[in-house]
Symmetry: C2
Subunit: 367 residues, 2 copies
């Protein structure tokens, strides 16, 4: 089937670009002597994940317990659920572990550590825990030098079992260019290694030392002391990552196929059937040097049309404009014209769809 | 079940508020002598729609053909698909009509009208069409006074059949207060009636004269000449609508239940498990007088906590801060605390979930 025969709007994955990104990251991690534990939150699909992972059983990272459950049912066993665990999810974690999933959880405070150990003892079980460490003040995690790091560990001796430390250089998304990204990576690496060493010195067994984000993983030259790298969006890329300098827009493997459904002639707008329900509401490039609105515009073959962007998005309508306020001519984009829109944020666009259509050139391989 | 027992993050619908909004809009439309054709895009569920519609068979409005198909399978017959039709969707429309759905479509240009009529003739069928009219330059639609209005109609005599006109006062979302909304409503009404009269004068049968958005429907005093009103988000409300002056934040029927999973103590942040995957990326209040970030914060009973907002959202993490930059105290929000977040845009939040949990007070009626 030719791509133009697909019903719009729909998600397109370019197989060659996707595989290239996966292959490169696998090689990079092998070369640097770290395990790749890819984040599966972008694709959320079995096929996608099989190519990302080193083996069908993992290792892998997920961002929800529903993802953990689905991937476990697809055969993935070694999983880190990399969002701070909270009490209402203890039971679900226990269920997955009892079913045979080698699920590990993270937390960053003594309250949760204490409650989880009590829960484990009450249920006569063990749950493996990584302490989440904050390397850059971005979001969550305990400070590397804090007393709380050791306090938390002390609650993870009996019931809940400390097995490692984990961090995420979330602020690397604000970097621009290789030098800044590498600096973020060195900080990420040094922070998590320091946290691990503090815990080891205090007598704890630290088997997993986990770090990584797409910008830091992409530009890393040395992961000494780190055992594994987690990254997610590297496998497809997006316009935010292009703004960070990780990829060129031409490298982006994910796009939305849309159809021209009308024109606002006086304004020179092209109206498509790809609104924010299909694009997502993500405006991640708004604060970057190049603001892509709701996405960059390509022809049906995936060639970027310079100077165009999706300037507005309603629920089911996309509005394509010229960046320099030239009016677009309706005759250049007749009704029925197919276009492809590159995402600001691939994870956000992918989350709006229940499946993707895999293409090789214009040929739809699976849908 | 008590609301606090639900697994988080999850979508909550307050039954009393929802029913009150539905009842009020039904009454308002009856009082003004117009048919209510509710937009079902917010709830996307059978239960939700049954209470919105005047009868289980409709009339109703949808924004995708997938919605049309689902609602038709649930027994809804009288449906307008209110997004400009494009050629790759003709076949799906035909299928639904052949299965017995009284589906009507909209378009705003001669190209699509011509193609649709040719498609109908080739398939020996008729498809009912409303011409989309642009009343306020917001998005799509043909201008009321344009020659194209009549040109389009001339393509809808044979095969595709003109049955009405439709408009949407999209710019009313930028209004603030009753007076501005009423002005938008009067313009919406006068524009669509004028378009209908031009077509009638030219000899066309115009059975449906369709208008309406939540702000204009809410404040309308007179719909003379209009046959039906479409609105959607009125049934739940959201913070954008509160900014427009349609509802108070306290009236909002939809919210996200989240759990506190951590604290960023030095910054005074509260971290929850409700990130943008659950909240949506919508920042619709960003340009309003009161910017709610990613949402307003309520206690588990739904009482608004003044001065708090979801200032940041990552994929699976929400960051709650004080509006005046006071640090929030971890002890006021212990790990495991349940909170409810009111949406900027209800349709966007609802679209992130596959179902909602219906509550009456704290009691979960269905989940």
């Amino acid at each position: 089937m030719d791509i133009s025969e697909l019903s719009t709007p729909c998600l397109i994955l370019d197989e060659s670009k996707f595989k290239k990104h996966c292959d490169e990251m696998k090689k990079k991690c092998r070369d640097l002597g770290v395990t790749l534990r890819p984040h599966l939150k972008t694709g959320k699909s079995h096929e996608f994940s099989l190519y990302q992972m080193e083996t069908p059983e993992g290792p892998a990272t997920v961002s929800t317990l529903l993802e953990a459950e689905n991937f476990f049912e697809w055969g993935v066993k070694d999983i880190i659920y990399a969002v701070g665990l909270s009490p209402n999810k203890f039971q679900k974690v226990l269920e997955l572990i009892k079913r045979g999933c080698n699920l590990k959880v993270i937390l960053d405070n003594t309250e949760t550590a204490k409650k989880l150990s009590e829960f484990c003892k009450a249920n006569n079980t063990e749950i493996k825990v990584l302490i989440e460490v904050d390397c850059d003040g971005h979001r969550s995690g305990v400070k590397v030098d804090s007393n709380e790091l050791i306090d938390i560990a002390n609650y993870l001796k009996d019931g809940a079992q400390l097995t490692g430390v984990l961090t995420h250089a979330g602020d690397s998304y604000r970097c621009v260019g290789e030098a800044q990204c590498r600096k973020a990576q060195e900080n990420e690496r040094d922070s998590i290694v320091k946290a691990a060493n503090r815990l080891k010195k205090a007598g704890f067994n630290i088997n997993i030392i986990s770090a990584g984000s797409t910008p830091t993983a992409k530009f890393a030259k040395n992961w000494d002391g780190v055992t594994e790298v987690r990254c997610g969006v590297y496998c497809v890329g997006d316009l935010v990552m292009a703004g960070v300098g990780v990829y060129e827009p031409e490298d982006i493997a994910l796009s939305l196929l849309v159809e021209v459904i009308g024109h606002q002639k006086e304004k020179g707008w092209i109206i498509t059937d790809g609104g924010w329900m299909a694009l997502s509401r993500d405006r991640g490039t708004a604060n970057q040097k190049v603001d892509w609105g709701y996405g960059a515009v390509c022809d049906v073959d995936g060639n970027i049309l310079p100077g165009l962007l999706v300037k507005g998005a309603n629920q089911e309508h996309g509005i394509i404009c010229s960046r320099n306020d030239n009016r677009l001519k309706p005759e250049d984009f007749p009704i029925g014209t197919k276009l492809r829109i590159l995402p600001n944020h691939a994870c956000a666009m992918a989350a709006q769809h229940d499946h993707y259509n895999l293409v090789k050139g214009r040929n739809v391989i699976s849908n």
